[in-house]
């Protein structure tokens, strides 16, 4: 028997009110924790994933979508861009580094990205085991994808084969006839590359054969038929020249179309890929894909996007304008789009913040009302405590302790619930799972939340505690 057990006994005696107050506070705090965790983790991801990427060039469309799809790998791409044009841009003097991306497939929800070794270098990733891809159908798997993706639930191993499914959302047709061999596994970086499966651009082209029109054009034109390299390689890393014809080996469904290139229309039906949900890198993009082809070099070969680093600050003023006005492509700045994204997310975060504060104020008020309301009914107990020898200060402490105990419980439950909720959101809400949210981390400012919870308790119980301190015991006892 002491003040602590006495305070607990009083809290237990009005259990329903106590539980309600704890819940109110816990919900308010949990909302703040979720908000803190989500916004800091998103800001972190945005900062880390956009670092060193000055410009993203892709198909025309929403610039935000372009950045989301090719920098954060969360949205569908805006479309494809002609490989030749991308290569031309990558040789521009204001471009220091240009990394091609060819998207189209996923493996167990992780995106398969056709790119160059430069991407691994750009994200500062290193190999945990194996080597980088050197040929076709070789895949290097990011740390997180590797952890989750092995057969039977275990981590994936070198030499395993993985089969992509078509499209960027789950449930696409499986490319059963195109197994990738895992040749390397990356060490974790905490960045977006952890969730990617990297292959060569050519591999993506292989899996997504040329549509009949483009293939026909390629077959018909003498240079392309001879298997000439589409264009010189980009600066950062050589994109190996490809033999178009070779790319179709094994595509039983695509090959006849390519061979019988003379009548392109007839073969449109022969191409049976369900290109419905998201663009694949080799799908026809605008003019380049029209039957009969265009006069451009290496017609048909396409990329999804190009990640660009400027060679000089001047580029920021010139390059986006150049791309947007002089080409069929679109340039988007990850920094600018991140600001826009933040503004969009900010509305939601702000709403949540107001909601959380309203709950916290309500919790404080409920606690105050409960303690204050119970005071007259408790005044006899308090007076009796004094008769039994308790000091005034003990009564003050007793009521403070009740408020603090409730708020400490609310605080602890709120923090735990906030982390659990964030972890659950990260796992279960598809739109958020791609952001790799986790509840297993502390957000800055959480320590203050504990202090805040206790402060609410102290504030709410201050007046009742002072009134308890000043109880006139003779009056209370005489009243009976």
């Amino acid at each position: 028997m002491n003040l602590f057990t006495l305070a607990l006994a009083y809290l237990r005696s009005r259990l329903l009110a106590s539980v309600l107050q704890v819940l109110l506070l816990a919900i308010g705090l949990a909302a703040i924790v979720v908000m803190l965790l989500v916004s800091t983790q998103l800001a972190d991801r945005v900062e880390r994933d956009t670092r060193g990427i000055d410009l993203v060039v892709g198909a025309k469309g929403s610039p935000l979508q372009l950045v989301l799809s090719s920098v954060f790998h969360v949205d569908s791409p805006t479309g494809n861009i002609p490989y030749a044009e991308a290569m031309k841009l990558s040789r521009h003097p204001l471009v220091k580094k240009a990394i091609p991306l060819a998207l189209g497939d996923t493996w167990r929800g992780y995106r398969i990205v056709g790119t160059e070794h430069a991407l691994v270098e750009h994200y500062g990733a290193s190999l945990a085991s194996g080597k980088l891809w050197s040929g076709e159908m070789q895949a290097v798997v990011g740390a997180e994808a590797a952890r989750a993706g092995g057969a039977g639930g275990g981590p994936i191993k070198l030499g395993d084969t993985i089969i992509g499914s078509h499209g960027l959302v789950d449930g696409g047709a499986a490319h059963d006839e195109h197994p990738y061999e895992v040749v390397g596994i990356l060490a974790p970086t905490g960045g977006v590359i952890d969730r990617l499966v990297l292959v060569s651009v050519e591999t993506v082209w292989d899996v997504h054969p040329l549509p009949p029109g483009a293939a026909a054009a390629a077959a018909a034109g003498p240079p392309a038929a001879a298997g000439a390299a589409p264009t010189p390689a980009p600066k950062a890393a050589a994109a190996p020249a490809r033999d178009d014809g070779h790319g179709h080996a094994g595509h039983s469904h695509a090959r006849p179309a390519a061979k019988a290139g003379a009548k392109p229309h007839a073969h449109a039906h022969a191409h049976d890929h369900p290109h419905d949900d998201a663009p694949a890198a080799s799908r026809p993009g605008g003019d380049a894909a029209g039957p009969g082809g265009s006069a451009k070099p290496a017609p048909g070969r396409e990329l999804t996007a190009l990640l660009i680093q400027y060679s000089s600050p001047m580029a920021a003023a010139q390059l986006p304008r150049l791309v947007n006005s002089a080409t069929a492509m679109q340039a988007a700045s990850p920094a600018a789009e991140s600001v826009r994204l933040n503004r969009l997310v900010g509305v939601g975060v702000e709403t949540l913040r107001v909601f959380a504060w309203v709950l916290l104020v309500a919790a404080g008020l409920a606690l105050f009302i409960s303690l204050y309301g119970a005071l007259s009914e408790r005044s006899r107990d308090l007076a009796m405590l004094r008769v039994l020898g308790a000091r005034r200060g003990s009564l003050l402490l007793l009521l403070l302790l009740e408020g603090l105990l409730l708020c400490a419980a609310g605080g602890a439950i709120g923090l735990l619930a906030g982390h659990a909720l964030t972890e659950w959101l990260g796992r279960s809400v598809p739109a958020l799972s791609q952001w790799a949210l986790t509840g297993w981390t502390l957000a800055p400012g959480e320590g203050w939340l504990v202090a805040l919870a206790l402060l609410i308790g102290a504030f709410a119980s201050m007046l009742p505690a002072v009134l308890a301190y000043r109880t006139d015991i003779a009056k209370v006892l005489a009243r009976g």
Binding site: M1, S13, R386
Partner: protein
């Protein structure tokens, strides 16, 4: 020294000494008591009609209420010299109060009510002593029940046990029999006298209950606020 000590041993020690006490609420003097002294182990009756100031006087004796004038000494200590928590401590250790409305703490078990009395007085919690006290009052089986589940008579016994648990030298009982029928009245009085006698405490019973009068000779009567030895 020795001689004085021997004399003290022969005469029971004075536990309560009241001198020229009066208490006023506003301008109305509620209670006056010129001089009164109670020795250890003595039972006293404090008689008076309703509104005659019995409760007020008891509160003054317990150090709950500071009298407007005069002094109250308990065990030789003038209560007016004690302030704040010192007075609370003193009361908790030396004075047992049995209030008219028992004021048991309802969110605690019967046993915890006794332990709370020890804790509040700053004494070590002695569960064995508390259980012993409950057993002596026939409440051994109810130690873990809430007070409100007990009968009034049982609750009164718990309150008595609580008043006595810290072995006070002075026990003040306010109308202990007013809610009881004749049988229970006699039993409660027996219990009160017996328990106070066992612990050697002086006992002051404030009452206007005619049934009590025959049992205790020493008495003070409050008539119109003035205390007169009856």
């Amino acid at each position: 020294m020795t001689r004085i000590a021997r004399r003290d041993n022969l005469r029971p020690m004075t536990v309560l000494e009241v001198n020229a006490l009066s208490h006023r609420y506003g301008n109305a003097t509620v209670v006056e008591m010129p001089a009164w002294s109670v020795a250890a182990g003595e039972p006293w009756l404090l008689l008076g009609a309703s509104g005659s100031g019995k409760t007020t006087l008891l509160h003054c004796l317990a150090g709950i209420l500071a009298p407007t004038q005069g002094s109250v000494k308990v065990g030789g200590t003038d209560l007016a010299t004690l302030h704040g928590s010192a007075l609370d401590r003193f009361r908790g250790r030396h004075i047992g109060l049995l209030p008219q409305r028992l004021h048991l703490i309802d969110c605690l078990s019967v046993l915890d009510n006794l332990l709370l009395a020890q804790y509040a007085a700053g004494l070590p919690r002695d569960a064995a002593a508390a259980r012993g006290a409950l057993e002596a009052l026939g409440l051994a089986g109810r130690a873990h029940e809430r007070p409100h589940r007990l009968s009034f008579g049982q609750q009164q016994r718990v309150a008595l046990a609580r008043a006595l648990i810290n072995r006070p030298t002075l026990v003040l009982a306010d109308e202990p029999t007013s809610n009881l029928d004749d049988g229970n009245c006699a039993a409660a009085l027996d219990l009160l006298l017996d328990q106070a006698g066992r612990s050697g405490a002086a006992l002051v019973i404030a009452t206007h209950d005619q049934r009590v009068k025959g049992r205790i000779e020493r008495r003070v009567e409050l008539t119109g606020g003035m205390a007169v030895p009856a």
